[in-house]
Amino acid sequence: MSDIYLDNNATTMVDPAIVDAMLPFFTEQFGNPSSLHSFGNKVGMALKKARGQVQKILGAEHDSEIIFTSCGSESDSTAILSALKANPERKEIITTVVEHPAVLNLCEYLETEGYIVHKLKVDSKGRLDLDEYAKLLTDEVAVVSVMWANNETGTIFPVEKMAEMADEAGILFHTDAVQAVGKIPMNLQDTAIHMLSLSGHKLHAPKGVGVLYLKRGTRFRPLLRGGHQERGRRAGTENAASIVGLGLACEQAMEHMEFENVQVKAMRDRLQEGILAAVPNAFPTGDVDNRLPNTLNIAFEYIEGEAILLLMNKMGIAASSGSACTSGSLEPSHVMKAMGIPYTAAHGTVRFSLSRYNTMDEVERVIEAVPPIVAKLRKLSPYWGENGPVENPEQAFAPVYA
């Protein structure tokens, strides 16, 4: 039996057709797209086509609003640092406590540089409070950066509304949409979103290519200066093969948008129902009624996520966890902490993220495999008795380190 890959929010398989489309750009189509001769010109035409394909999936008004970058993180850093450079008198940033480290760690660094970072809190389901947000929209704020959908729980934020609120207050709005593109239909020309980050490898394109969408007229300061590539907004010779791959990936994602929201969602829902029916003391995290169609995050109480993943991996099932151990940090996932999930559950969170390449048969196999794994680990757990958690688990076992 082949292995089952349910970690598509981490990265995705490159579609074979995309690999085929890219290969010529490693061999005969090696020209520099900036060159005048036909070697370069053909590559230049291929990039133009890819730019159009990305424009289409984002619903951007102009193809010149698409800037190719090396990854989602570069797009995030470019957007936020550009907004700060372009508005030197404004020293505040608004973001959320549940952002990806690509945004959060940059913001924490900017704090050491004297910027004030407002991190919007979330409730127990991972939802934002827009009243809190509205109060922070002052003339001191240079940029708002809020993710479109959360990578761990799939929870979707109302970014279109939030962008409008920022725009009305005269503030730039950026969204990290690396998890959302290809799963949520978008038409950016009808929104007030000024900047958006996209990552190729989250939608079956290769790693090492991303996009920064920059609405025409948005004040911009490049991160990388040098050559005139990307109209002088991102210097560096284009990663031609990957850009071509990303273009085709966007076209394919458009074609599969409905499949993603119907069939993939049905598999995700079946997975959730199947696991929760068989495993006691487990619950889904995040805003389950308003999340990405492919994402399921379950907290298994009283056991630890890395141990779950290792046992799943042994059975050929790939997923990820918000436990401290999987990341080598001392704390469980900041997203779980922000939602107030207790430590005994936060360390046992497992994220299953599906793609259009999964099948219902695979989902049934996972539903079979997970309950015995959880039971095995609970047998080892000091919080677990014969048939359930020990009484008053927090008191019955309360180890404390200084």
């Binding site: 141990a307 290792l310 436990s323 080892l380 076992f397 180890p399």
Partner: protein, 316 residues
């Protein structure tokens, strides 16, 4: 993914002695639920002999936490309490053929559970002095608490000093930014300003004024000021070798404390070939140990000496 040894995997997939021991008379609960690792060790001790008849564990934690717990129970069974208390966290890690640096705390937790369980059996109060911070240096598994405490205790003011005192930053050097940030904070706390070392060759100037020793060992007769007089041509080869042996002998206790050792293989002019043996061989810190030996030899001989692993000695 972590690079777990086969032994770790074996103890994780098929843990030994899982579950609480019936009629346990020693129980140790340690760990931190916020960090995601906690362990209850139960022991059944024969009162007359203090021999551990049975041991069991219950662990909330990752693969290496479960493997370390399993290893611990295997190691202590049949030992007396005093024998068991001799087990160090390194022994637990060695039993498992090593743990990744980020996971060494799992072996520390095992050792602490043992101390707690023994204290519980003896009716003593066990309090741990365990403090754990975020990992700063991944090469040598040095955490933030250790770096901060060392900066405070020794009034350190440069990354080089932190490296010399704690080893942190002595490997790949990617953590130098983090160390500089800690220095900035700790120095600000004592009213000083951190001044980063200049880049490139200029760096050497700053460290001149203070020479903290890598390995803190007193070497008899190693008074650098007096040594130069006798150096260079003054000694016969035999005398030189004897002197080198003396230096190595003086360093031996420290190396043996870490289950390692050093042996002299050859002396060729200013080049000294040595073999690191025991725990030193293959140790990530071998290069630093050699550096420490070299420094001691330079001081004792009053001349520049190069210490090279014997494996790199050109064939005769």
């Amino acid at each position: 993914m972590w690079d777990y040894s086969e032994k770790v995997k074996e103890h994780f997939y098929n843990p030994k002695n899982a579950g609480a021991v019936a009629d346990a008379n020693g129980v140790g609960d340690v760990g931190s639920i916020s960090c995601g690792d906690a362990l209850r060790l139960t022991l059944k001790v024969e009162p007359e002999t203090e021999i551990i008849l049975d041991a069991g564990f219950q662990t909330f934690g990752c693969g290496s936490a479960i493997a370390s717990s399993s290893a611990l129970t295997e190691m202590v069974k049949g030992k007396t309490l005093d024998e068991a208390l001799q087990i160090s966290n390194q022994d637990i890690a060695d039993f498992l053929d090593g743990l990744p640096p980020e996971k060494m705390h799992c072996s520390v937790m095992g050792r602490e559970a043992l101390q707690a369980a023994v204290a519980n059996y003896r009716g003593e109060e066990w309090s741990d002095d365990h403090e754990e911070g975020a990992l700063v240096c991944k090469c040598f598994a040095i955490d933030e608490v250790m770096v901060r405490d060392t900066i405070k205790a020794n009034n350190l003011s440069s990354v080089e000093e932190v490296t010399n005192y704690t080893k942190a930053g002595g490997g790949c050097s990617s953590c130098h930014e983090a160390i500089e940030n800690l220095l900035t904070e700790e120095m600000a706390a004592r009213g000083e300003t951190f001044v980063p070392a200049a880049s490139g060759k200029k760096k050497a100037k700053k460290v001149e004024k203070k020479k903290p020793d890598l390995v803190e060992i007193e070497v008899p007769g190693a008074v650098p000021a007096a040594a130069p007089a006798a150096a260079k041509g003054g000694l016969t080869l035999v005398q030189r070798i004897r002197k080198i042996e003396e230096v190595l002998e003086a360093m031996r206790p420290a190396l043996r404390a870490d289950n390692g050792d050093v042996e002299l293989v050859d002396v060729d002019g200013k080049t000294v070939y040595v073999n690191l043996v025991g725990a030193c061989s293959g140790c990530q810190m071998a290069a630093m140990t050699l550096g420490g030996i070299q420094q001691k030899l330079i001081e004792a001989m009053g001349e520049f000496i190069k210490v090279i692993p014997a494996s790199e000695r050109p064939a005769a």
